[in-house]
Structure formats: C-alpha cells, structure tokens
Point group: C2
Chain length 323, copies 2
Amino acid sequence: MILTVTLNTALDVGYRVPRLERHGTHRVSEVRVRPGGKGLNVARVLAALGHDVVVTGFAGGRTGEEVRTLLARRAENASAAPDAGSLTDALVAVGGETRRTVAVIDDATGDTTQLNEPGPHVAPEEWTAFLTAYRDLLAAGGGRCRAVALCGSLPPGVPVGAYGTLVREARTAGVPVLLDTSGEPLRRGLAARPDVVKPNVAELAGITGTNEPLRAAREARRRGAREVAASLGPDGMLALTEDGVWRAAPARRLAGNPAGAGDSAVAGLLSGLVEGLSWPDRLVRAVALSAATVAAPAAGEFDAPVYAEMLPRVEVTERTAAA
Amino acid sequence: MILTVTLNTALDVGYRVPRLERHGTHRVSEVRVRPGGKGLNVARVLAALGHDVVVTGFAGGRTGEEVRTLLARRAENASAAPDAGSLTDALVAVGGETRRTVAVIDDATGDTTQLNEPGPHVAPEEWTAFLTAYRDLLAAGGGRCRAVALCGSLPPGVPVGAYGTLVREARTAGVPVLLDTSGEPLRRGLAARPDVVKPNVAELAGITGTNEPLRAAREARRRGAREVAASLGPDGMLALTEDGVWRAAPARRLAGNPAGAGDSAVAGLLSGLVEGLSWPDRLVRAVALSAATVAAPAAGEFDAPVYAEMLPRVEVTERTAAA
C-alpha cells in the first residue's frame, strides 16, 4: 500500500455564486462538500489509479466526522469501480475541530476565491499519538508500505520541524518518502533528506530566493532532497533526478480549475515510483494527471478521458547539463 | 413564553481576513461559529431581556446538530445571568443539512462579505410535522404562549405561502404574531393579516414598489398588516399603528456591524408588546437595542452599556396626519 499523511485535513466547501462582489451579500446557488487536504486528494487519485492507499493525519470535531463520512462514501464508490484500489481511513482523533476551506467560484469570471481556516490546535500528546500511529503504518506487515507522501500545511501546535521527523522515520523504516509542502516546514523537511520533493515555482522561490526553476531545484537538492520534481503549473514539470534532468510539458494547456493539479502530480509520481517506472514515464503520468485534474470539477478528481488523451501528448526532453 | 420561528436556521460562520481580494487565496485569522437565522437571534436577545423563549423551525444534519449544541451552550450561559430568561430548543428534525452562512470580515476596511447557503430541502411530510409541532407550541398550557415571531427566509421545499398559514394558525390560537421576512413570503404573509410586520425600507419597496417609507408602510397596512414597524436603518424606525404614526430616531448613529440590528428591533417590539408597553416605548426599546447590536460583535448579541446609554437618547415624534 501507499501511505499519505495529511496533518491538516479539511472539509472542502465549494460555493458557486453568480458574481462575487467584495462586501456584498450573496445567495449561494450551489454547495458541494468534499474531504480535503492535499494528502486526501493524492489518496483519492492513487486509489482511482488502482493502488491501495491508507490515509493518516488528524481529524476532529463535527467537521472531522464529516470528512471521515465523506471519505468512507468515496471509498465505497471507488471499490465499486473494477480497477480501483482500496482507500483506508487511519486518521488519528484530535480534540480540536478539523478546519473548513471555502472555495467561492464566481460564475461571471470562472475564478475562485479561497478562504482557508487555520485548523485545530494539536496538543503535544496528540502529536505523540500520531507519531506512534505513523511508525506502525510504516512498519505495517513487513514491507507492505511501499511509499509515503507527506502533504500540505501544519495545523497549529504541530512542531514546525514535524516533516523532518516524519522524513527521518520513513528513511529508518526504509520507505521512500515524498514531501509536498512549503515555507519553513519544507525547509526543515529538506534537511532530513527526503527521497523526492515536489514544490511549485513559488514554493521553491520561497525557500531558495530564486524564481529560476532549474537553479532553485539545484539549490533544493543541495539542501537535502535526493530528487526534485518541480511543478511549472500549466507548463508541466522539471525533474532533477539521479538519472538526469528532465522537462515534461503538455502538448496543450487546458483551461479549468487548477485546484488539486499539484496533488494529482504527486499521485502520478508516487504511483510511478512504486510501479518502477523510469523518471520520464513518471513525469508523463504526473503531467497528464495534472491536466486531467484541471479539466475536472474538484481537487482529488480527474477527467479519465482527458487523462487517456493527454498521456501520449506529454513531451519529455532531457537536459544534457548535469544537475 | 415567547415563541420564535426560524424555518431556515443556520450555522453562522464568521471569518476575519487581513484583506479580502476577489479571486485571491486567504488564510483566515479568526473563526467564530454561532447559532444563526433571524428567529434564533431574536430569541437570544429576548432571553437576555429576561423573557422565557422557545425556538422552533428546522434543524438537520451535522450543521443542525452544531446549531443545537451551540444553542444549548448559550442557554446554559444565559441561565447563569441573574435576570435572563430561559431559552428552550423546540426545533423540528429535518433530513437535509442545515445551512451555513459565512460572513467574511475584511480587517482592512471593516466591511463584511456575506455568503448564504440556500438551506436544506424540506419534504412535504416534514412541513406537516412542523405544523403539528407549531400548533402544539401555540396552544401550550392555555395561554402560556404570549406572542410569536415568524422570521427570515424559507428553505427550499417549504410552500411560498408558509407564513400565511403560520399567521392564520397564530390568529386562530389568539396569539399575537409578528412577521419579519421579505419578497413573496412577506406578500403572502401580509394577506393573512399579521398583527405586526417589521420590514426594512428595501423589503417594503420590494413588495410595494415605493422607496418612500410612509407611503410604503401605508400600502403594507392596506395589504393586511394590522400595524407596521418599518426599520429605517441607522435613522431609527417608523411605526404605523392603531394608536397613531410614530417616528423614533437615535440621538447619534453608531458605527459597527449592522448584522442582527433588525432582529434586535424585533426582540424590542415583541418584549414591549407582551409587557404591555405603549408604541412609543416599544420603539424606544427597539431602536436602542438595534444601536446596541451594531456596537456588539455579532447578531443575537447587544452591548448592554450601550443599550442603557441609548434608552434615554431615542427621540420619538408623533405624526399628526392619520395613517
């Protein structure tokens, strides 16, 4: 199985309004709720690709319950699909209330305004309980855990060096670990030498000070990442790996909702890793999944026909200058 | 006791953001949740004024549970105050999910952007169950129900003539009934001859076609309201009553959050009614409570020192031209 960690899970609330006006009063025309947080999105895409996935992190309060109920419903629906993998909830209970994230879609422009609650305060003993659960999941059944993804922001109370700790635990357990976060948690996580990091250009710039992707990715490797797969948004991905430097670009840019495109890229990279694909093939999958997610209505979902259409239309080029 | 009806109860979610940008991503700096919907706000103010209140309407799903939990907590806190009345939950269960309303306060400007979910779909048998519960509450213990307030919007599935039905039931039971809604539900409710309606200028204009408050209020009486107390926002209130026409204005305008000012005015009018106050005294109370609510952080609350300060500072004038 593949393990995904979402310390700051969320109830994703999606609103449509005819036109968003600052300081106006709006009657919401459509409401959608989904389990959210990057690692849960990654897990749903991985399960749709046929992988058995276990999700962990924190869930608490009524919104936490709702996240778990929605996740169980998705797991049921997913298991009805012939080729889907299982999706297992191993979230750890927390006394605080899981956050809501509200995405307001403006029908007049198609743009999204996002409001993210900070998340529950996690007490030291809750963090300790999580670490125990995490270790058990990494060790599950002698090598059954084939990879782990550490995703997203930290809720209040979790130590800023949390991802460093989780990376080290994974390395000790011999489980390949991918880190997808930003800011100080990314900086601290890098120092623990994760196998892969998947920042976007802004996240890379935030820790390296440069907007030039190749230079920034090199700096991220220097700081501890064994391999770096940087997302370039609609322009695809850049990977600095032990086998070389690769650039993957979609044949065409798709219009749509970019929420979750990065999470689908993580699912593409991670599934490719456990299936033993080469880096170019992993990048093709990641970029095609990202594009198919932009074409889908929400994070954690992708448009299967668009995915199939894009797969042969991602171009990978190798840069000969060594990383 | 006083009964308040909130067919479309809500979980009021309040967010603070440093600066709201259309199509931006915001980290919410503060999250507050409160029981919401106009009738619940009216009830909280009435209880704080010392009246025993029963709230009914619909509640469903996890947000409905949260509304009821928060209401119970407020009832407990309120009963700790020496002069407060009781607050009793007689909400009727509904299969759908009670709505959220999200108020985003922009710290840079102090303005609020409001997003209101439509509410749960109410099935015909749920509406019938509510009517039975409502009749029982009106009849409670032979004259114990001294007044009823019908407040706010209708959730999907409830007949648009619902307030007409509820007004007629109250009249049959001999319970004075105040109606505070807008649009077609107000128009239909008026025709059933409620004792008092409390529209604001925009709501009056919506059904009468005129923005001139006195003319619009006269038209509302002609359409069935026995008495009309129109809210003029920061300029106070205008009442067309069987005793005369009165205008009440606060000595000074208060800056603050106008959410819930109208609900506090309803609480002022209704408490004055059951206490047998004259119309001028009811208006003084309603206007002072509105001002004290603008000075408080949220609907359903008021600033007690501001209320005490404003009471002797509301000026009431009688218009000699008969209504």
